[in-house]
Symmetry: C2
Subunit: 133 residues, 2 copies
DNA sequence: TATTGTTATACTCTATAACTATA
DNA sequence: TATAGTTATAGAGTATAACAATA
């Protein structure tokens, strides 16, 4: 069996492989949206985590981004240099955040094109998978 | 609505958000496996793409990794320095590949713990989503 | 003292541009 | 000439270690 095989030992394993593939395919879309806003991927993730209404300590941001504490310094530095963030979220940053959300929250075509029944079933299974049942 | 909200406009959008969350959660696992093999993420992806039986031109590798051509040079350089790859896959590289596959192909707990019915339903929906029905 | 954030350092990844080799 | 691959260069992300400030 070569790369890209989708028939696997268990349904969960195959679903996982397909999900991985979908994410990989969606990476292009993500990168396109990121550069649409002239942001690097970690900057996108950082901006999505921040909310002007609820300031977060940088250590919390590091946890959310799953990277080292020292790293957040640089990421936030660059966002701050562009006035998108202030070590307390700034006005323009909030606008960019809203724009990003609108673009990124759209499901990829592969999911949007599913039948309404499949969409509902998929949502319910994913809720159960993540304990949100 | 703050970050981490899961109730969204359409089932597909919510499923997408949950899937994104699952992938993000699984990143830690991926990084752990990568460092278990002492490989960087792009090195993992490169090694997974390569097959001793079917040598690939580096330009094809660049497409698979969704990065620039010039970039592959450095990634392959480092893999070659460690004798995992030879600009024609080497023996030890094949072993590492097999080990990697065994670890990475396991679905994350969130999926493995689903009921058999949910696993089957999820697999079938993902097949349809990616046109493998 | 323990936590938070920064700086220093070093390595990897990334793209663009310019170059070489080759079909 | 066109394609494949490399090198040069510059910028960003990443972690570790050491440090400063502070609760």
């Amino acid at each position: 069996m070569g790369a890209g095989t989708t028939r696997r030992s268990s349904p969960a394993a195959e679903a996982w492989a397909l999900m991985f593939e979908l994410i990989h395919l969606s990476k292009r879309r993500f990168m396109a949206i990121a550069s649409e806003f002239d942001l690097s991927p970690p900057q996108v993730m950082a901006l999505r985590q921040l909310d002007p209404a609820e300031p977060k300590p940088m250590s919390e941001l590091a946890i959310a981004l799953r990277c080292d504490n020292s790293n957040v310094t640089g990421i936030v530095d660059r966002l701050e240099d562009r006035g998108l963030v202030e070590r307390r979220p700034a006005e323009r940053g909030a606008q960019v955040r809203a724009g990003l959300a609108a673009r990124l929250d759209e499901p990829p075509e592969a999911l949007a094109n599913l039948s309404p029944e499949d969409q509902l079933a998929l949502r319910d299974i994913m809720r159960r998978a993540l304990g949100r049942a």
